[in-house]
């Protein structure tokens, strides 16, 4: 569809109005992304005034093929995928389930919506500190709870797999409210007449969900899936606050931060390697791009099929 914006000088007006937004996007988002791709081919330290040398693909070679460090990097990549799968699956399912519950026309649903959404408004640092206190192994609430059953745990400081599982749990707790709200918004767009007609026709609860709610929720399903997948692939803040740099727990997002800012060796004088971190960022970007685009392609086909 074409719009008429007038003639001569006035026809440039919409483009002129778009310009500030475009400039903002280029400066804040696209510009740094292009710069990251450039820096990934250098030995940049991120220090202002430091010499930057062109190293070609050396950072990529080191990340992917050099010694055991590359095996550790690939393990972090694998862990990132596991993290993404677990977070997306659980957060999506739980968010949908709770949205269905709090979308009922019952007293008190607004209170529950608020409670479930509350963690979203807290920052990652506050969320992390709250859970560190809760999981304090020397007499914290979780420790006392386990003690009732004669059990004990080091929680975040113990086995890496357990610490990793806790980060998954806490991220879901932190973000599930957003997923729920998007589903609630989607549920409220479904006309109530459809439910009434289905009830009159004698459809069961499952049939109503499968044939009315689920297909008509498609836009919300797509939005939530993409947000959950991309958000979990890029997660790193909670890893920093909850477990720090520990073998067996790093995901790619946190590895990028740690290598870029000299946090990997345990020494206070580790070097800054932002060129190398930029190469890792580009690898993460490609991962997000491939997964994100594939998922989006599948979801759009599904949406066209269902909604036309």
């Amino acid at each position: 569809m074409y719009y008429q914006f007038g003639s001569k000088k006035t026809k440039w007006l919409p483009y002129l109005l778009l310009l500030p937004g475009l400039l903002f996007y280029f400066i804040i988002s696209l510009g740094p992304s292009i710069a990251t791709a450039f820096y990934s081919l250098t030995d940049a330290t991120g220090i202002k005034g430091a010499t930057v040398n062109w190293v070609g693909l050396a950072n990529y070679r080191e990340f992917l093929f050099m010694g055991r460090a590359s095996a550790d990097n690939l393990a972090a990549l694998q862990r990132t995928l596991i993290f993404c799968f677990a977070v997306t699956l659980i957060q999506f399912t739980l968010g949908l389930f709770i949205a269905l519950l709090v979308n009922q026309k019952l007293k008190g649903t607004n209170l529950f919506r608020t409670i479930y959404f509350m963690p979203v408004i807290l920052g990652a640092v506050i969320q992390g500190l709250m859970w560190r206190l809760f999981l304090y192994p020397l007499g914290g609430p979780a420790s006392k709870l386990l003690a009732l059953f004669g059990l004990s745990s080091e929680f975040l400081g113990g086995q890496p797999s357990e610490a990793f599982a806790w980060v998954i749990f806490i991220l879901i707790w932190a973000n599930m409210g957003t997923t729920m709200m998007i589903f609630i918004a989607g549920l409220q767009t479904i006309p109530s007449e459809m439910y009434e007609a289905a009830t009159i026709d004698g459809a069961s609860t499952w049939q109503v969900f499968r044939n009315i709610t689920w297909p008509l929720l498609t836009p919300s399903v797509n939005t939530n899936l993409l947000l959950n997948i991309i958000g979990s692939l890029q997660a790193w803040q909670l890893f920093l606050v909850l477990v720090g740099y520990r073998n067996g727990t790093q995901v790619l997002g946190y590895l990028i931060y740690a290598t870029g800012f000299g946090q990997t060796s345990g020494s206070t004088s580790s070097s800054f390697r932002q060129g190398y971190a930029a190469a890792a960022s580009i690898i993460l970007f490609l991962l997000v791009l491939v997964i994100g685009m594939s998922v989006q392609y599948i979801l759009q086909r599904r949406e066209r099929r269902i909604l036309g």
Binding site: T45, G46, I47, K48, G49, A50, T51, E62, M66, G67, R68, A69, S70, A71, D72, R132, L135, Y136, P137, L138, G140, S143, S152, E154, F155, L156, G157, G158, Q159, P160, S161, G244, Y245, R246, N247, G248, F261, G262, Q263, S265, G266, S267, T268, S269, S270, S271, F272, R273
Partner: protein, 436 residues
């Protein structure tokens, strides 16, 4: 019409740019109001001392306001780098220069302090009067690079000692351990009496493995030679001597450390020890003021980690040059920053600093008059800079290429010293092979 509206706007913008450019000058008038931005790492006694010092400093110089930021030690290098790059800092806390690349190390990255100097972000302090207050070795070893001085170092610290609760030792009739078997026996006796043996600030990660650096030192007293040997392949993390170290580290992590130590914050560990909840606390000398502050009157002692079976091998202190001061090269408040360091370096003030923080002094006129000074005195002649200050891992080395006790359960996944030793050596060897 359009021109008449544009002109004042353009004039204001140009005037603002000119003003901000003038503000970038490094000089300021003596009575000009200045906000001095200072960055320090979290160490409660040091922060408390700095707050008092800042108050006195600003009373003497009413035109100067000190805006001090405190960050976790793990984040100091990151925050320093970003704030230096943004010209948002005047005086910064910097650890003693360490981890310089040695001739036998190949393809290693320069340490962050060297990167900052190479990028002209730290001010050259060479020739400043206050440098004469510090001993020459400290200036050369911990604050100089390419013949110029970029930092003054405020003290050495020991990280290979163990604090012990004198009362609990007496109650359980336990003698101060001087060998590894005696330490094991002491822990067993304490556990049998219902007192957990040790704690550490495991929530911060590093206190668990740094706590066992004394064990590493007992095995390899010459830590510079250890690093060289590892790089050249004459020492391996899975040879017989190292295997003994791993076996002892497992006992340290699994049997000596109290259950739940992984959740104790670094700042909270001294208080937990001082409360009498545990009998020992392997930790750095910088914790002594916190222990005293947590429980005044509490009776404690500090001994070298008895990692060897032979008492004579357990008479070393291992440590590092800790906090120092540097000035941002591009500071707009150069005079105030130099004045700050000059007054801090005044011998009377420095003595008060040492008394408060417990650092081993780097000014020859200062004395460590505290209880810690008495405790460490017998072995102070045997002080050595530790492994962490020399070690740089080769590129390509795996994540286990470190002598860290925290790899063992319950803090890590490993429970077999031989398997772990082989894994650590393989991770190191992969890096050495990669940089050949």
């Amino acid at each position: 019409m359009r021109k008449s509206k544009l002109f004042p706007i353009v004039a204001i913008i140009i005037f603002t740019i000119l003003l901000s450019a003038c503000g970038g000058s490094g000089d300021q008038k003596a009575d000009e109001n200045v906000t001095l931005r200072v960055l320090v790492h979290q160490n409660p006694p040091m922060v408390a001392f700095m707050e008092t010092f800042n108050q006195q400093f600003t009373e003497r110089h009413p035109n100067i306001t000190v805006d001090m930021s405190v960050v976790n030690a793990n984040d100091l290098s990151t925050v320093s780098q970003t704030r230096l790059s943004a010209n948002d800092i005047d005086v910064l806390d910097i650890f003693g220069f360490a981890n310089g690349a040695q001739p036998y190390m190949k393809m290693v990255e320069p340490p962050n302090w060297q990167q900052l100097i190479d990028a002209n972000l730290l001010m050259d302090l060479t020739g400043q009067d206050f440098l004469a207050n510090y001993d020459n070795n400290t200036i050369n070893d911990a604050g100089s690079y390419n013949g110029k001085v970029y930092a003054i170092n405020l003290g050495r610290v020991i990280y290979s000692g163990i604090y012990y609760n004198k009362q609990l030792f007496e109650q359980n009739s336990i003698a101060i351990p001087t060998t590894w078997p005696e330490l094991v026996a002491a822990c067993e006796a304490l556990e049998a009496g219902g007192t957990p043996c040790m704690t550490a600030g495991g929530a911060d990660g590093w206190p668990i493995f740094v706590g066992a650096y004394g064990l590493l030192g007992a095995m390899y007293p010459d830590q510079a030679e250890l690093v060289k040997g590892l790089w050249e392949g004459t020492i391996k993390w899975n040879d017989a001597k190292s295997l003994e170290m791993w076996t002892k580290m497992q006992i340290y992590a699994r049997d000596m450390m109290e259950e739940g130590a992984s959740g104790v914050a670094g700042d909270a560990a001294p208080g937990r020890f001082a409360s009498g909840a545990v009998a020992m606390f392997p930790g750095g000398s910088w914790y002594a003021p916190s222990i005293e502050a947590a429980q005044p009157g509490f009776e404690w002692g500090y001994i070298p980690f008895p990692g060897s079976d032979v008492a004579a091998d357990n008479q070393y202190w291992f440590g590092k040059y800790d906090q120092g001061w540097a000035i941002a090269a591009n500071t707009p408040n150069k005079d105030a920053a130099l004045l700050y360091l000059k007054e801090f370096s005044d011998p009377a003030n420095y003595q008060a600093f040492v008394d408060a923080v417990g650092f081993i002094p780097t000014q020859p006129t200062a004395k460590l008059n505290t209880q810690l000074g008495t405790e460490i005195a017998p072995f102070l002649a045997n002080f050595q800079v530790g492994f962490e200050q020399y070690w740089i891992a080769p590129k390509g080395a795996g994540q286990f290429a470190n002598p860290w006790a925290s790899y063992f359960q319950p803090f890590g996944t490993d429970d077999d010293p031989q398997v772990l030793a082989d894994k650590v050596q393989a991770d190191l060897q992969a890096g050495l092979d990669a940089v050949k």
